[in-house]
């Protein structure tokens, strides 16, 4: 005998399609900006590192994505809060609180780290186009020129939309992920309890995952875009939603890339030497065209990030040292800004033209450097965000503060252990 059916109350299943659309649109409008920011986070280094992780380590590092995503959320929220409450960029704040000397050293470190990332982006461009047979000696100079002209002279805003649209590429990994029907039990078993190996490669990959998901340059970029949009304390809640959604999306995309490579490449012992190898991960979805699909996605991610990174770096250096900056200034008005930007773009590209330089390792190693530098930046941010005079009532408090400090200490220990292991 069947129990009498109990009415569910909301009756959503009864809603007509026309009533559903506005809700969907509103939902999208809310999470939209978050998704956009998260796409900026994924670049050549990201695709390379996540792919390498899945191909070389299977599922053994997937568990790290959970704490990493959590800390991404924490740190990005801090960036947004710092920017909204103070109305100033991160290098500005560092300068005003710690003085010029410390700022100078921080800037040197950041420039070097960012150069590493810029080189990685050009490596991505080279690798992607090599897949379709275009020599890097053609693709890289053209790519550099294209970016340089686009950002300085062109209409960047409309092209940004094209870049963002092409980020739908990441869906390929998600779709493939469902197509390969992974054994979720196996994934969970490999993740809990996590089998932490203390060998060099394992920790290096862990750091790579950390550095590519939470890149120091992203923190500077995020805070300065908050300042540019003139977000204020009133906009904090909306901004927090953005950050939350963005971080989750980054985590999800990362998981799928790792998972797909773990399912498709790892069992066949395909270690990724070139982009073509990494492209094979998408074979279940695109068959013979997987290489083109991958090349397209990698090229898009690399170009996108390569347009943003040098610009953001030039901005934050000029901001920290008090030099004029900004594309709306002419060269004569902001000479150092333009010179720095040009050097970063073409310098980064030049490195890739060194004959036989291996592309995939460059993309990977640059992310490890990110992770090594990260604790330094986090400690600065924590000091700033705990300054009551600066933050007023939005100063870091209680449990959140404790957790943030713990995370920073944990990551520093990780970096240190890595350094120690490498020196022994």
């Amino acid at each position: 005998m069947e129990a009498p059916s109990v009415p569910t109350g909301t009756g959503t299943s009864q809603e007509t399609p026309s009533a559903l659309w506005p809700r969907i649109l509103m939902f999208l409008a809310v999470i939209g900006p978050g998704i956009i920011t998260s796409n900026i986070d994924n670049d050549a280094g990201g695709i390379a590192t996540y792919s390498l992780c899945g191909a070389n380590f299977g599922y053994s590092l997937v568990w790290t994505l959970i704490p990493i995503t959590f800390f991404l959320l924490l740190i990005q929220e801090m960036s947004v809060r710092l920017g909204a409450v103070t109305g100033k960029g991160l290098s500005d704040l560092i300068r005003e609180k710690f003085g010029v000397r410390i700022t100078f050293y921080v800037l040197i470190i950041i420039i070097l780290t960012n150069i590493g990332n810029i080189i990685a982006e050009f490596a991505g461009i080279a690798a992607a186009l090599e897949v379709v047979g275009i020599s890097r000696f053609v693709s890289v100079p053209l790519g550099a020129l294209f970016i340089w002209v686009l950002v300085l002279k062109g209409n960047y805003k409309s092209v940004e939309k094209v870049f963002l649209f092409a980020c739908l590429f990441y869906f390929s990994y998600i779709i493939t992920g469902f197509m390969v029907k992974p054994d979720f039990h196996q994934i969970v078993k490999a993740s809990f309890p996590p089998e932490i190996r203390f060998d060099r490669a394992y920790i290096a990959m862990g750091l790579g995952l950390l550095g590519t998901t939470i890149a120091p340059w992203m923190q500077f970029y995020l805070q300065s875009s908050v300042v540019e949009k003139r977000l204020s304390v009133r906009d904090l809640t909306a901004a927090r939603v953005d950050v939350f959604v963005g971080s989750i999306v980054v985590g999800i995309v990362a998981f799928f890339i790792v998972m797909v490579c773990a399912e498709v490449l790892y069992p066949n012992n395909i270690s990724i030497e070139t982009a073509k190898d990494a492209a094979l991960a998408l074979k279940p979805l695109a068959g013979e065209y997987c290489t083109y699909l991958f090349a397209f996605g990698l090229l898009n991610a690399s170009l996108f990030a390569a347009s943003i990174l040098p610009l953001s770096t030039a901005y934050l250096v000029c901001e920290g040292l008090g030099w004029e900056s900004g594309i709306d200034n002419t060269f004569m008005e902001a000479p150092l800004f333009y010179i720095l930007y040009t050097l970063l773009v073409f310098g980064g590209a030049l490195v890739i033209l060194i004959p036989n330089i291996p592309l995939i390792p460059i993309m990977y190693v640059s992310q490890i450097i990110n992770a090594v530098v990260l604790p330094i930046i986090i400690f600065f941010m924590l000091t700033l965000i705990n300054d009551k005079r600066l933050m007023g009532e939005h100063v870091n408090r209680g449990v959140l503060n404790l957790v943030s400090y713990l995370a920073a200490i944990l990551f520093s220990l990780l970096v240190l252990s890595f350094a120690v292991i490498n020196l022994i």
Binding site: G87, K88, G99, V100, R101, R230, S232, R234, L321
Partner: protein, 422 residues
């Protein structure tokens, strides 16, 4: 101590020196304080660093006997009781905490600059005055300890020395948010009025919300209103939202009503209401009316500050009226002649008015055919009229036929082509 009568030095040379009184070492120099009310203020206090802000100690400058490259010497019998805690102050400005590495307003150049170092004049008896703010690369290099090397290098290779970039302290207005009143005492403060409102608006754009609010609080409401009117809507919103209603209302009152209406229309209604409640009833009504018009129509674009001349006036009477009202008017080149119902019956230019005989009736010299706009006219309608008749401004008529405002061609251009004018 060097035996020159007076010489120049820099704040960076005075930082982190040992502070010694007789045999005792009291700490290291952390900061210096000045009283803001002179063009070239003397350092009034030395701040000795302790652990954490609470332990910082401020020593009156009179206790200092001398210094050298490594230490500052206080009187041998210096007693600790003469020192006090160095907290935020209502009549002092701390140089390291509040000026060094911060942005300040350069009232001479009308822009913001970042302070890299401070240029000081040192005289006997120990008296140090601030002379300039160093905003150049030399200041940066000096703080990094690299200036000697770089000087040697540039002289060796290029036979060149990087020139210093200074701003005289009397033009410098600091911007730190606490205790706004002391910022009104600086020599530069009086010059703030002289800065053109468009440049002032540029300065606002570059400041953070806190600093912008501090800055605007140091200005009188007229200057503030002019600057705010030129700022971008985002900035206007941020500033008004951050102010108390009374202060915001004072500024709104000093703005031309059409600009004020635009600004108020852009901020959240609740705040706009509470600001308007602080206004006089007439102002409030006028603004409410203007706010009702769509921004893109003649009604939304027009200004209410123009001059109406009663049809029965003589030229002399009209001139007297002009003299009385011109201070408050935005539109002065054309004057509109109205009948007792406030309907426009003629228009006369200021040139024609001045050239005419004082005794003549105004109706003799006015142009009776008044080209006009309606409050609902949109951009295209307005543009067509202006193009056809080639006038500087056009009156706006409401549904009752009364003249309610005037649209200036320049304002229409700003509406249609904002990027052109940026």
């Amino acid at each position: 101590m060097e035996n020159k009568s007076s010489f120049f030095s820099y704040l960076s040379n005075l930082m982190n020196l040992k502070v010694v009184a007789g045999e005792r070492t009291l700490g290291r120099t952390f900061d210096f304080a000045i009283r803001p009310d002179e063009p070239f203020p003397k350092l009034s206090h030395l701040i000795i660093g302790g652990r954490g802000r609470k332990k910082r100690v401020s020593v009156p400058f009179t206790e200092i006997t001398g210094w050298d490259k490594e230490s500052i010497y206080l009187k041998e019998d210096f007693q600790d009781r003469l020192s006090e805690a160095a907290g935020p102050s209502a009549d002092r400005i701390y140089l390291r905490d509040e000026v060094l590495d911060r942005q300040v307003v350069d009232t001479f150049g009308a822009k913001l600059e970042r302070v890299n170092d401070l240029h000081l004049l040192i005289q006997h008896p120990p008296e140090i005055r601030i002379v300039h703010v160093d905003i150049g690369i030399r200041g940066l290099l000096r703080r990094l300890g690299a200036i000697q090397f770089v000087d040697w290098f540039t002289r060796w290779i290029f036979d060149y020395q990087i020139p210093p970039r200074f701003i005289s302290w009397k033009y410098v207005q600091p911007l730190t948010p606490e205790n706004v009143d002391r910022l009104k005492l600086t020599a530069a403060h009086a010059d703030l009025k002289e800065i053109h409102s468009a440049e002032m608006a540029d300065i606002f754009e570059e400041l953070s919300e806190h600093e912008a609010l501090t800055f605007i609080k140091t200005l009188d409401s007229e200057t503030a209103a002019e600057a705010l009117a030129e700022a971008e809507p985002k900035t206007q919103r941020a500033i008004l939202m951050g102010m108390e209603d009374q202060m915001a209302a004072d500024i709104i009152e000093d703005m031309p009503p059409d600009e004020a209406a635009d600004v108020l229309a852009d901020i959240p209604e609740m705040k706009a209401q509470s600001i308007m409640n602080e206004l006089e009833r007439e102002e409030k009504e006028e603004l409410s009316e203007l706010m009702n018009f769509d921004e893109e129509t003649a009604g939304g674009l027009m200004t209410t500050e123009f001059i109406k001349i009663p049809a029965g006036s003589s030229v002399e009477g009209a001139l007297a009226l002009l003299r009385g009202e011109i201070a408050e008017s935005e539109i002065i080149h054309y004057l509109y002649v109205v009948n007792s119902d406030d309907e426009p019956v003629g228009v006369v230019s200021i040139k024609e008015l001045i050239m005419a005989e004082p005794g003549d009736p105004i109706t003799d010299i006015m142009h009776a055919n008044v080209i006009r706009l309606k409050t609902e006219d949109d951009r295209k309608d307005m543009l067509n009229r202006f193009q056809k008749y080639k006038l500087h401004c056009l009156p706006v008529i409401d549904d009752e036929g009364k003249i309610s405002g005037v649209v200036a061609f320049r304002d229409l251009m700003e509406l249609m082509f904002p990027k052109l004018l940026q």
